[in-house]
Symmetry: C2
Subunit: 345 residues, 2 copies
């Protein structure tokens, strides 16, 4: 991806669109019935004779989230003119893999809040979170076995392995201020973008579209996923908790190196680097350190440029859909791209 | 299973055999070449471009273990006269699922030692253990997708879900002295026996044997797995650390309710029950409590009777192989059953 030139028009169009208030609403409206069916599959498959599993699962369902990843499967299937029912179950698989990853992520991060709600590990402890994550992960494979396609199973198994590799990579870059932008991009691609890529690809797979179209949707999802994560990283340094349900400064406090810090560290002088090392590598943080970090990030345009980097991937995501003729589904998917970049404002 | 009558001859034969020094050696000798191939598949698939994964994986491989579960797949395939190569990869899948479960188990249990070696979570912390477990689990599915059988994938996905349910059930019975024998048996069946059942069943599946023979091998594995776990529970109250690589009294100190305690609690008087509640439910343990627990377990024959219960399942495991004509493989598998019960002495 790194050697792809971003068309200027694409970038300019993105900015215009960003000002216009893109949202998930068009896609949500288009796939509303399918999404209800997906929620039904999710609820059915979260049931277990083991009460604690059902309880914890119900908490996660209630905590909700945007269901962005399954919506991408539904939207992609719609874009491909698919009229069957397989995309419902597969969208649920995608959400289960995502939820399992979140549960394990929160254990790994010791997070107390996710989307403004107490995390499962904060309420029940780490143990059930690890195990219920395993259960949901297994359920995803059970559902896809029932779907009956080795092709689909291969995509999901490969994606799950890549997600785990991305999470481990993130552990090894965490607290390492020397992390290069390239290394960080590998983490983002594996831990976030790979699942978006699979979610979109599955829409083309069930519709039995050409390899070129399948690849186009995969590329769309991959680049969208990267843009989404980079904006998320920027938001961690620049939005209000009340709006996002995410504590601003979480990444800073956890010593989690993300793109804004990668940029500010490289652009800073020795004194600034010493600050980043103390606060993020040694995690010795005092009152006022977060404010100072914000000042450094602002001085070096590190947050704005992270969003700018996100726009590069948004532009590629949009271009990836170029193969597909105009349609309501295409417009809705393009709106998702704009939404993901725009939510930073 | 609970309504099956154990043939007296079987039990008597088991005792005779137990005195004769059964071991894993016959099975080990029979499948030695296959097991080497399995170890090769395991090593190949533990590789990752992410160094920490390869490092942690190498530690787990070095820590070794008996490879009992993959050997059951190899032995079962041999029993069924299978001459192909699929059992190699599937045995590796079984070991990967087992290893992933162990990694998550050690996180859940905060274990410091496993098989006499420091656990991965003790050396690297909980985070990599959770994530590398996820990685190995995903690898198991990647390998079985490459094997290409939906039947096999279904067995593995169902087994993985059952394992997770069993682990969660165990959490909910942990520290609960009121746990019934029936509830405890459900935990053991799900968290331990299900994987033995799948391991053995897969041998029949690759050999394309009849449903009756497949079911017989599944039942063999299930009952063997139950016996194995019950003996393990008994060993936790009665063997030396140096021999086992397992700290005696771990379960007691963790407040983990196992069959010996289930029996002693029910057979005890009010004062004794108060002791079990204080030490295992409230986990308030003083010097001398473990010795007192041992005295109570001995007074009520709770350890010996746990082994006696194990013999019941061993007998059923042996009978499950009755369908198969005499062969070197059958003798070797029967020796595994005897070994599992006998290692208590």
């Amino acid at each position: 991806m790194s050697d792809t030139v971003v068309p200027l028009e694409g970038r300019a169009a993105a900015r215009r669109k960003a000002a216009s208030g893109a949202s998930l609403d068009p896609l949500h409206g288009l796939v509303a019935d399918d999404l209800r069916a997906v929620n039904g599959v999710i609820l059915d498959n979260m049931q277990s004779s083991v009460m604690l599993i059902s309880e914890l699962a119900a908490h996660i369902v209630a905590a909700g989230g945007k269901r962005l990843r399954p919506m991408m499967t539904l939207g992609s299937a719609r874009l491909c003119g698919y009229t069957g029912k397989r995309h419902i179950d597969l969208a649920a698989c995608v959400e289960f893999i995502h939820t399992a990853t979140l549960l394990h992520d929160d254990v790994v991060d010791d997070s107390a809040l996710r989307r403004g709600t107490a995390t499962a590990n904060a309420l029940w402890g780490n143990k059930p979170s690890v195990l219920v994550g395993d259960f949901l992960f297994s359920r995803a494979f059970q559902i896809s076995v029932a779907d009956g396609s080795l092709r689909v199973l291969g995509i999901l198994a490969d994606t799950a392995a890549t997600l785990a590799e991305g999470e481990v990579m993130q552990l090894t870059t965490s607290n390492d201020t020397e992390t290069s932008e390239a290394a960080y991009m590998k983490v983002v691609t594996a831990k976030t973008a790979a699942l978006f890529a699979a979610a979109c690809q599955l829409g083309a797979v069930v519709a039995e579209r050409s390899a070129a179209e399948e690849e186009a949707l995969r590329s769309f999802g991959l680049n969208l996923g990267i843009a989404y994560q980079l904006v998320d990283d920027a938001l961690d340094y620049g939005a209000r908790e009340a709006v996002l349900g995410k504590t601003v400064g979480d990444d800073f406090r956890d010593g989690k190196i993300t793109l804004p810090v990668v940029l500010a560290f490289r652009r800073g002088d020795d004194e600034e680097r010493a600050f980043w090392r103390r606060t993020m590598e040694e995690e010795q943080q005092d009152d006022g350190d977060f404010a100072h970090a914000m000042a450094l990030l602002t001085r070096h345009d590190a947050i704005a440029d992270s969003v700018e980097r996100a726009r590069h991937y948004s532009a590629m995501a949009r271009d990836a859909l170029g193969l597909f003729p105009a349609s309501e589904a295409k417009d809705a998917l393009l709106d998702v791209v704009d939404f993901c970049t725009e939510r930073v404002h």
